[in-house]
């Protein structure tokens, strides 16, 4: 819901004259003004439908009207001179009655309900003052469903606000959750038991105002909201950089919730982000340094005290001439920069494969230098036309996909003004628009979860998609290079897309690194630039692979492969691998050969699987969830994350290990690191070296920041049971663990005031214990957080800049005899390594497979389930076959679910049915 810039108006609430926004309804106005008005069915991101009748107020025609009439605030516009009363006794009585009705069948099982203590229904019940039960009849009961590993179902608690289906169906486009039955026998669930299919199912937990849908992962290590310490963080599972709250208790990460950010995630997260956190609790997580005495005879790594390990390493490194550093797109900017400082620019690798590195640099170039601005998720959501090239966003940048799904309503919504329907009036909007959709064109290798809202889709090999994109760009602006040989139907499609984009007010072009084909990125740039040259206010958005891909790309490192494959003479240099599972970046034989040359191999990580056989030293890194640092998201926005857990003994943030290694190895580079005690110290250094990153320190207040001399508590204030916080270990009241890194405290003590937005540890306000309390942190409902610091946008579009288009569009992707083009098919669950270690996510990871169009499968004489052999230079694999009608012909898809076999794709491969065993 966007704010209009119309002038404000005066409304009268209980005799007070206040300023309001005429683009909003009375409920929004009242909440924005700080009045407590209860509601259920309305949701800031979903608008009004007037079902629950909880937000009733009394409206008066004019000053002389004493009687007034009850209206639903959420269904009534704020108009100049509107007079309402919230306190009116009839209105209050009605609101209390609504709660009474909702409670008739409610089980009152708060003590055993996971929602208890942060329940919107509890809050609203208290708010309306309904306290005693008059209904003496029996209650209705339901059977619950098993909805899979993420969400628990307890239908008896349902208050029929319809938010779940409205989110799941109308917002997220899910088809398998609905409401069945009628009257007071409504059932919200699936037709039959089974895993919720939508990749946004976890939002049900937050959208549901009571305990019908709760977080199943939380319930396995449950704690109440007030017993957990929460910390603002950034999701580390894709490049979008959604803001999250991480909640911890007693050293166990308990859950992830949405941290509202007006420009990125808004109110919703994807399931990978919400349920991927359990890698932090992984039993095999590296927590102690370890050293291998020798490489002979497979001697194993022996755990050691940190000081001892560092000392031994110092000895080993002292004679070494050089250290090679392998950075990481899943490590913080600071840790990567520390490594770069230690090893020097020319020995610093970005830690990405050739392809990844090339693509990230390309995207950086497009965003930095091009005339099309890089759009945030919410800007994409406001687009009125979109072209997606190559990327299956539901799997690579789900939150962006969710935004695009909403964007198709923007163009049809322009009629609403004529019909006099406000945008917040969701039921009327949906009636008026009647499923009309604005232009969205999707070109991908196979079907995507957005196809149902697409105007048209087209399928092809990545090159063909790029070729089509280039042709669209040429059509929009003839200076953009032409694509060769277009068929008639293609020409038609191209004209249609070009017209739709060029006639839009705010079109967006979206692409990414998912296909492994650089031309897809270039084609997207050409289209966006062509639009800008035509004077259209187009934006561009890219999906990259990991949470800091763009950040590490900014540090001018080098890609891995080139040196790795040529096996350059390293003269047995040392190597530091920073938070990087190189098996995902290089083919195993190449990797082994390469690592062979280094001595010692030093690994700083928290993922045990990432430690190669060749590792000589292992230092346990604090994962993002347990450390402080900065990430740069796909938009080019730098954001801060904070540690959600007190420091664990022996575990350090990577940059500290690096600094200490430098010290122990007496490296020259230590000089510039010697004063690095806090993140701010590194920020100064980064800002000095990289002009683009000069504002890197502004993403959040520095560590010494205080509000009235107080730190910001990570735990909600509690008026009793103060000692209960570390109760699991001790009932005494130990000194809370120190957190010198940030203005946050591991304590319930500290300022009660609202901190600056990057430091908000949880949403809670007086009388608002549930996450709906976020309303109290916004000046205007659905707008930015109060004094929002949205992070630092690193690139500003050079809107008047004229830069050359990418030339030499690729030719048509010709079929080869007996060969198929093998392309990577990233999967939401499995493609990202950290979330893949979470037990709930693991249940959702598909089996590795090759996906074929049924016709290609026929030609190859294979069917679903058969095993097939893939061979190409440097690649031999046997995998089961999946068939998919939507898969482009002549292309085979390799599901990206964990191993590194896709790093060199796309590639021409020979497929042969495996001899049956």
């Amino acid at each position: 819901m966007t704010k209009g810039n119309t002038d404000s108006i005066t409304i009268h609430v209980d005799g007070r004259s206040v300023q309001a926004d005429p683009q909003r309804n009375l409920l929004e106005s009242c909440l924005s003004l700080g009045f407590d008005l209860p509601y259920f069915c309305w949701h800031p991101a979903m608008g009004s439908v007037g079902a629950c009748r909880q937000c009733a107020v009394k409206q008066f025609k004019d000053e002389s009207d004493q009687a007034g009439r009850i209206v639903m605030a959420c269904m009534t516009p704020s108009a100049e001179g509107t007079r309402i009363s919230i306190e009116d006794s009839e209105a209050r009585e009605f609101r209390a009655s609504v709660i009474e009705w909702l409670m008739l069948n409610h089980p009152h099982d708060c003590p055993v309900c996971d929602e208890g203590g942060e329940c919107h229904l509890q809050d609203m019940t208290v708010m309306t003052g309904h306290v005693s039960r008059r209904y003496r009849e029996s209650k209705r009961t339901y059977r619950n469903q098993d909805l899979g590993p993420f969400v628990t179902h307890e239908m008896n608690r349902c208050i029929q606000c319809y938010r779940c289906v409205r989110f799941y169906r109308d917002i997220a486009g899910g088809e398998d959750l609905n409401v069945f039955g009628s009257r007071d026998r409504l059932y919200f669930g699936r037709m039959t038991d089974g895993t919720l299919e939508s990749e946004f199912s976890g939002n049900l937990v937050e959208v549901c105002p009571t305990g019908v849908f709760t977080d199943k992962t939380l319930s396995r290590h449950y704690a109440r909201k007030w017993d957990m310490q929460s910390t603002p963080s950034i999701c580390s599972h894709c490049s979008v950089g959604c803001n999250v709250h991480l909640s911890e208790r007693a050293g166990i990460m308990r859950r992830v919730t949405n941290r509202y950010h007006s420009r990125i995630n808004g109110y919703f997260l994807c399931d990978r982000g919400r349920f991927g956190y359990e890698y932090v609790n992984h039993p095999q997580r590296l927590r102690r340094p370890a050293v291998r005495a020798s490489r002979e005879n497979s001697v194993s790594l022996i755990p050691l005290m940190p000081a001892e390990a560092l000392a031994q390493l110092g000895v080993r490194l002292a004679q070494k001439k050089r250290i090679v550093g392998v950075g990481s797109p899943r490590a913080s900017l600071e840790s990567n920069y520390a490594l770069r400082t230690l090893v020097g620019g020319e020995h610093f690798f970005s830690g990405m494969s050739e392809v990844e590195h090339h693509h990230a640099s390309l995207i950086l170039r497009v965003l930095k230098g091009g005339p099309a601005p890089s759009w945030s998720v919410q800007e994409v959501e406001q687009a009125d036309a979109a072209l997606i090239l190559g990327e299956d966003l539901g799997h690579t940048a789900p939150r962006l996909a969710l935004a695009l799904r909403q964007s198709v309503r923007n163009q049809p919504m322009e009629q609403l003004e004529r019909l006099n329907i406000p945008r917040w009036q969701d039921s009327a909007v949906r009636t008026a628009l009647h499923g009309q959709k604005g232009p969205l064109y999707i070109g991908t290798v196979a079907g995507t979860s957005l196809d149902d809202v697409a105007t048209r889709t087209f399928r092809g090999a990545p090159n063909d998609i790029a070729r089509l994109g280039c042709a669209v760009a040429h059509k929009i602006y003839p200076d953009s290079p032409k694509s060769s040989e277009l068929s008639l139907s293609e020409a038609d499609l191209i004209r249609e897309i070009a017209e739709a984009l060029a006639s839009a007010k705010r079109p967006v072009v979206v692409a990414g690194t998912g296909t492994g084909e650089a031309w897809v990125i270039k084609a997207a740039a050409n289209v966006a630039w062509a639009l800008r040259r035509r004077g259209v206010a187009a934006g561009i958005a890219f999906a990259l692979q990991e949470c800091n891909t763009l950040g590490v790309a900014l540090l001018d490192g080098r890609s891995l492969d080139r040196t790795a494959t040529t096996g350059a003479d390293r003269n047995r240099d040392a190597m530091i691998i920073l938070e990087n599972d190189l098996r995902r970046r290089l083919e195993k034989p190449t990797l082994d050969r390469w690592l062979e040359q280094f001595d010692p191999v030093i690994v700083i990580d928290h993922v045990d699987e990432a430690v190669p056989d060749h590792a000589d030293f292992v230092f346990p890194a604090a994962p993002i969830a347990c450390s402080d640092g900065t990430l740069v998201n796909n938009e080019g926005c730098a954001q801060r994350f904070f540690s959600a857990m007190p420091k664990e003994p022996d575990v350090e943030e990577s940059w500290r290990w690096i600094r200490d290694i430098a010290r122990h190895a007496s490296r020259d580079s230590f000089q510039s690191m010697s004063n690095w005690n806090r993140l701010e110290d590194i920020h100064d250094a980064i800002a000095g070296e990289f002009p683009l990153l000069r504002r890197i320190g502004e993403t959040a207040p520095p560590a010494p920041f205080r509000i009235w001399d107080q730190k910001i508590p990570r735990a909600p204030h509690r008026f009793s049971g103060r000692t209960a916080l570390p109760m699991l270990e001790t009932i005494h009241e130990p000194q809370p663990p120190d957190d010198p890194e940030s203005p946050l405290a591991f304590s319930m003590e500290g300022t009660p005031r609202q901190p600056p937005s990057p430091l908000i540890p949880f949403f809670w306000a007086s009388r608002w214990n549930s996450n709906e309390a976020v309303n109290k942190f916004q000046d205007e409902i659905g707008g930015p957080l109060r004094n929002e610091n949205p992070g630092v946008r690193l690139f500003d579009a050079q809107s008047r800049r004229v830069i050359p288009f990418f030339e030499n569009a690729p030719p048509r992707c010709d079929r080869r005899n007996n060969q198929l083009l093998l392309v990577p098919i990233p999967r939401l669950f499995g493609a990202e390594e950290l979330s893949a270690r979470s037990s709930a996510i693991r249940e959702r990871i598909p089996q590795a497979a090759v996906v074929l169009n049924p016709r290609d499968a026929d030609r190859l004489g294979v069917r679903k389930g058969h095993a097939i052999d893939i061979t190409a230079p440097g690649l031999v694999r046997r995998l089961p076959v999946e068939t998919d009608e939507t898969m482009a012909g002549g292309v085979a898809g390799l599901l990206v679910v964990g191993d590194g076999a896709y790093v060199t794709l796309p590639a021409w491969v020979t497929l042969r049915r495996a001899p049956s065993t």
Partner: protein
């Protein structure tokens, strides 16, 4: 044409409905022929406006006025739709069935007129599931009309085209609410829509649509045939035309009759329904179906028209009266009604979905001798709490009309149930 009973004069009480040629022999479809060749849509709208025809589906909205909101002219969105509401599920109502079964051609003629007036090219007749004979009769009549060129492409060479489809429902009273009906027709979840947008502008599939009750539509042919003035004069009071009135309950001859609108209840009851059965005395009645407030002996001489009945806190509704006799428990009566309304709630808004079942169960408690003194107060509160404007549609307010008037007229019966802890109408020891 039977002048004082234009709606039903040609209906044979025990026999098949008039065929197309039989109907044409009595002047049927002549108005349509004249209309197509001599009248513009605006002329038709004007005539209906002048006739002062008010909707017979319950709300009494002036039909001509409803049509005037439909966008006309070359730029109007297309297609436009006409929907005939033949859902008739209100307890006590059975008047539309007579028209559907007895004279489908008149309905079709009415449809052509209404569709022409708003330039709709497609019409749906939304018939409740239980009316199988109606569906068969309608289907036959539509076929005949199509074969004669009265329906289909380019009607009688006029350039106007119209298709008519019969849609049968699968139960549920709420489908009769006009916006819920549109959702039902579209196959969408059956929940009323919020207005605006009004169906006249944005209805079926987002296109201009009018929804009209069967009886309303059946009035159109003779309005065109005889003119607005003639039609206005058919009524006895302020309202125009004739009305189908019905009576059910313990009367000698339950049935439905076409009478001048504004006829008194006493005349209908005594004259047409033959008075009360032997051994039963009149106690009260709902004048227009289950969702209208009770009236008593004192009101029998009121004119059964829209304004007279609202002036005493009731409604004409569908004009189909249900009579409560002295040997029937009024608490049981209301309990039965509220059971209906609770069960037929669509489940969208809280007061209706959860308030009505509570009302029903309280009434059951009282009826069964388990009532408590505070129950009546809770019931009274519900009358206000579920009143107009507080629920999403008119279903729950409709349910409160009989309860409200029952608490007023039968208060002592409620109190007696609670005081005696039993229903005075049930012999001791038995329970319903």
């Amino acid at each position: 044409m039977n002048d004082d009973r234009p709606l039903t004069g040609q209906i044979r009480r025990h026999g098949p409905p008039p065929t197309l040629s039989e109907y044409e022999d009595c002047g049927g479809y002549a108005p349509v022929r004249t209309m197509l060749s001599h009248m513009t849509p605006e002329d038709v709208q004007q005539e209906v406006m002048n006739s002062n025809l008010r909707g017979r589906g319950g709300a009494g909205f002036p039909t001509g006025q409803k049509w005037s909101f439909v966008p006309m002219g070359a730029d109007a969105p297309r297609p436009k739709y006409l929907v005939v509401n033949a859902d008739e599920m209100e307890p006590g109502s059975f008047k539309d069935r007579l028209l559907l079964e007895g004279h489908p051609h008149r309905l079709i003629e009415g449809i052509i007129i209404a569709a022409y007036a708003i330039q709709a090219e497609c019409a749906y007749v939304f018939v409740r599931w239980a009316y199988h004979p109606s569906v068969i009769a309608l289907g036959r009549a539509i076929r005949e009309a199509r074969e004669t060129g009265l329906l289909g492409h380019n009607l009688l060479g006029s350039g106007f085209s119209l298709t008519v489809h019969v849609h049968t429902s699968a139960g549920r009273y709420i489908c009769g609410e006009e916006t819920a009906l549109l959702n039902a027709l579209e196959g969408h979840p059956v929940i009323p829509r919020s207005k605006p947008p009004y169906p006249q502008v944005c209805g079926l599939w987002g296109k201009p649509t009018i929804v009209q009750n069967v009886e309303t539509v059946c009035n159109l042919p003779h309005i065109l045939a005889h003119g607005a003035k003639w039609f206005r004069n058919l009524g006895k009071g302020k309202d125009a035309g004739t009305k189908l009135y019905a009576v059910s309950g313990r009367v000698k001859q339950p049935g439905v009759w076409e009478l001048p609108i504004g006829t008194s209840m006493r005349e209908i009851l005594e004259h047409h329904a033959g008075g009360m059965q032997e051994g039963y005395a009149f106690r009260a009645m709902q004048p227009g179906g289950g969702s209208t407030g009770f009236l008593t002996e004192d009101h029998l001489d009121l004119a059964m028209d829209f304004d007279s009945l609202s002036s005493v806190g009731s409604r004409l509704g569908t004009g189909t009266a249900i009579v409560l006799d002295d040997r029937t428990c009024p608490v049981g009566f209301v309990r039965n009604l509220e059971h209906f309304f609770a069960q037929e709630s669509c489940g969208w808004c809280t007061p209706c979905r959860d308030g009505l079942p509570w009302v029903e169960r309280l009434l059951a408690d009282i009826d069964n001798g388990n009532g408590r003194p505070q129950d009546v107060e809770i019931l009274e509160r519900h009358v206000t709490l579920l009143g107009p404007g507080r629920t999403y549609c008119a279903h729950a307010p409709g349910a409160m009309e009989p309860l409200k008037s029952a608490l007023r007229y039968f208060r002592s019966d409620f109190d007696r149930h609670i005081h005696d802890q039993r229903c005075p109408w049930k012999s001791q020891g038995t329970e319903a």
